[in-house]
Assembly symmetry: D2
Homo-oligomer: 353 residues x 4
């Protein structure tokens, strides 16, 4: 059990149930099956089979019961789960109007995007929730004095509102970013073997549009198999979000120091050696998750160098990184909200001398 997001006990610290559900193997498999069903249903538009054959296959696919583990050996062999998935779907449905003209990357990228857009929705909601919580704190404590600190040194007195706003204002900007990037990433992936939709003939656009619509995604004039900027931009935005939260977490850790005493937190973490301690665990976690995402981001950008029509190496690197970045972002937003709820006091009660 290596990943902190699934670990029996570390998940207590690192995992967020709602985000985790969007990226569960079951959800991923359901998304792939939804793609395959839509492909069967609309394949007649691309001349792949008759409308009736496609409809029958789509219904049958939707009714198939598959366990995630059934794709393991095939993935080991082929490097992707889709050949095994297609084989099983054909076996269990007895239908032939399945997957023809599509490729593994169509299925997997679309499934990933489906998890991603649901995650971005949740992240957007949480940005609102957190922003509101910070506004509430500002309403309660904003006027209190706080020693402004620059370069780790006391500078001049400011107010609690001044610091709180450096945590809150970027959240609104992040929402703008999410709204702007969404049409660049919430896109069905359809390309076929080499990305040119050759198998779909003149009906390619109609078929892609129909599938996109069924899945609640946008479409593009051509596949983005080898153009990964939408995913890397999404990763960048996730890291911008955790970066803002990391700054908030770092500030809270510094404010919570005895001798600084600019914040009071209820319910910090306990220590096995020092029962008197109240560790600002959630605040530290925000720093950890921000640094984690800043690290992973580098790999998502390395993966932009996606050679030719499909890079197995670069694509697999995304699989290792992007889901973790989403989990970290979801957890950071949840943790930040929890943390705001733990704050019982901010700033000084009296004027700073």
């Amino acid at each position: 059990m290596t990943g902190v997001f699934n670990h029996p006990w570390l998940s207590g610290l690192f995992a967020d149930g709602e985000i985790a559900a969007l990226w569960s193997a079951e959800a991923q498999l359901a998304h792939m099956i939804a793609f395959e069903a839509a492909w069967s249903r609309h394949g007649h538009l691309g001349g792949l089979w008759s409308e009736a054959e496609g409809a029958a296959a789509a219904s049958a696919i939707a009714a198939v019961s598959l366990a995630p583990e059934e794709l393991r050996d095939g993935t080991a062999q082929d490097g992707v789960c889709v050949p095994a998935l297609v084989r099983l779907l054909k076996e269990r449905t007895g239908q032939a109007a399945i997957h023809k003209g599509a490729t593994s990357q169509d299925v997997i990228d679309t499934a990933t995007v489906l998890s991603l857009v649901r995650s971005l929705d949740l992240i957007d909601q949480r940005l609102v929730t957190l922003g509101d919580a910070l506004s509430d704190l500002e309403a309660r404590f904003g006027d209190r004095p706080l020693m402004g600190r620059t370069r780790m040194q006391a500078a001049v007195p400011i107010t609690v509102a001044d610091r709180l706003q450096t945590w809150r204002l970027p959240l609104e900007t992040h929402r703008d970013r999410l709204a702007q990037l969404r049409p660049r990433v919430a896109l069905v992936q359809i390309g076929g073997a080499a990305g040119d939709r050759a198998a779909l003939g003149v009906g390619a656009d109609a078929m892609c549009t129909a599938i996109a619509q069924e899945l609640g995604l946008g479409t593009t004039p051509r596949a983005w198999h080898a153009m990964r900027d939408g995913l890397a931009e999404t990763a960048s935005t996730l890291s911008l979000i955790t970066g803002t939260l990391g700054k908030m977490g770092q500030d809270i850790c510094l404010m919570a120091q005895q001798g600084i005493d600019a914040i009071t937190l209820a319910g910090g973490g306990g220590s096995s050696a020092m029962p008197h301690k109240q560790n600002p665990v959630q605040a530290e976690l925000l720093v950890t998750l921000a640094r984690f995402n800043a690290v992973q981001l580098s790999g998502m950008h390395q993966a932009l160098i996606h050679e030719q029509e499909r890079s197995g190496a670069a694509w697999s690197l995304e699989w290792m990184l992007l889901p973790q970045m989403v989990q970290a972002t979801g957890r950071a937003l949840g943790g930040a909200s929890d943390l705001t709820a733990q704050i019982t006091s901010l700033g000084a009660r009296d004027r700073l001398s």
Copy 2:
């Protein structure tokens, strides 16, 4: 001489004259002086001095002659060049209506933004130029057959246009990104000692607006001293651009292999050992610069954790990274355009068997 962008001979490979000029010490100094002059000129709006005093100081500042090296010792002492700059400006002008109410970060961040927005303009133009060059290649060679390659293996035949579009289409998207991020980063920095514009009183907004206008930038309701998401987003976009170009460079390197022979380049690099070789130096360089920016990007996101009202540590890290990322991006765009001009043939003349 460590940096490749200034190195006596490595600059031949890595430097781009136009971008370099925008980040020269002389340009940076001119931008800082422009900020200080604007500050003096509009300081009366913030009640810092009379309009006449400010105007006199602004004129005098604009006329001061300063060599970049004069700021070196002060920077060594203070960690920032601004205390030395202000001291010299006051000495040489004999004026007092200078800098009061501002802070080092106001000056340096605004100067950086001025180099940045000019760079983004240039980058945007170059995206157009490169896109046009790729469209030209598509017009000339687009219909030719090319073996589509997925996972480094021959897949099915595609056309040259299919591959060229994976290089060109993201360039248009990058232009959209630049347009969207611009209002988030083309912003004057004004905060004063602790970021709250306390010294400027009720006239703060008017003064900030006037300065922003003079400098051709936008303004914000408060300083972004400790909110660095605009800069990190810019860095992300730079890396997205070089990532696209890195993919193009990698593809060209692969196409240029003897045995693949899917591209002909004129004027490759010579070898000291093998005079017959034509190395695809510009194509390799695109890969190098993409990986370089993907690496640096991680640091720009680490710097989001900008503690309290000003983090000397995080801020200085940006200084080490962002200018290099801009240089690398400018060079990559220039190199990519040079490379397109070197292409004398793409794809196969005949139908692939």
Copy 3:
């Protein structure tokens, strides 16, 4: 299910059973319990309790049955699992001579090191195995001609041995590195609340030595709570290993291109769209894992900035990164060995023209 190492189907590609077992939650828990038992057993040397009390507690601890999930809520609360672990151990044993004088970091770091040293042993064995396999390939194909390629261009003919040696020789050097770093990382962690072993009095050294011996580790004159260079160096070495394998994988991908045809692989991965393809999945995976580790490494070095006596933020970042790096390294070594077994031919049969 986010992590590729535990994922129901992605584990087919990314997971290595032997390495995974060393980092399973069960193994980690067993290592923590082994530490606590040793602590109880030798605590009398530090004056914590009588030898008999400690022996009784140690025996009782060793007999406790605990499920990993039982530590989840405590970890959520405290940010570390140890307070919950200690509470459960005390409850279930009814013993008091437990954990006193130790701290969470002592337990967790020592447990991590125990997984790590077993992993390093396995990695070392695999370096030998892989080196032998490469020597075998050299014996079989080493004399065959191969076109030497520099800067992605045909240069001059070399032999297969020339290229194979660039894959094999660094493996031996990596073994030297592992041997040299081992005494710097195979160390028990004992510090107590603030790292100074204050609770152990004059018997601290004796107690630490006894515990280290029981656990098969070395000891140090003081705790390394806040000195993380041993772990970061280990991470560096892991990444050096995967880097060498990534170079091998990249070479094999290039050699396997149709048109280059310098290698023949049996049993490549199948495609859902193109049944004729044999994708060099294992070779690509080596590239992916090398880039993955190169990315993660940056975070392990960021975590060197471990403030004061214990940094929750930096420490937790290690938890997110190091186990994944070990898994990736184990998988890469296994994959590289599998890959060598798939090679049925290398180089050209005839003299290159």
Copy 4:
């Protein structure tokens, strides 16, 4: 002027004169010329020319006067400076017994290693100097009480010595690391066109040994053109060093906070806005440089994926990163020593309550 290490004023903060000199263009050129002279002198051992011809050429090469800028255009054309260098050396000496059998990478890598080993020597000396300074501080202030802080919270009192040792002890370990890696990196690079020393015939070993000896380096049975683990390991060690110093810097920043007051520094940096402030500029710089190196390290490990016999892309990436990492390390060590000299008090004078 983009690089902080050469910048007219930022060099005041970031540059270290001694390290900079070792990597100046002049030093790099001198190292390349030294290689070419040694090559000419010993080329007769490889049957390239007669001993007399080689000796004459070596003498003539050593007397050539060349300005770094003269290599610029050639580097722009060829991607490496060596073809231009060789052309100029031949022109100016009128000798023919030059460079034959060598390749660009032989010259450039050997020159880099020469700068590197001198840098490692200097770094080693500075580790000693800094260790001594920290020992002195321990002698002066080590017994004083200090509040131990874990997870950013007051834990239990420790002594100043306890914290100082977390800064000092790793320095000794780093010296061990440097000693162990030295024979893996202080190596002449000799391979010729495709790395197999084919041009040198049976005298290859003798010739390589003679050249290595002349240059004060070790040799290897074959070229390490495509085996970059020695350089990446060196980069890792540099980052371990700056990581330790970054931890020290972060601690000092935290200790210097008003309210914590556990350190007194003389001669901090001044502020343009707040003349009363004493910013811990050198301490912050240590954090910056540590994070910088942790970022760059990722790229040095990406460059391990060095395809075939020579990767222009991966090799050039090293040029962009490694010299900067060395500069950052030299500066950090110098800065840390300066910082220790600024410390006038550590810990509390009285017992902590």
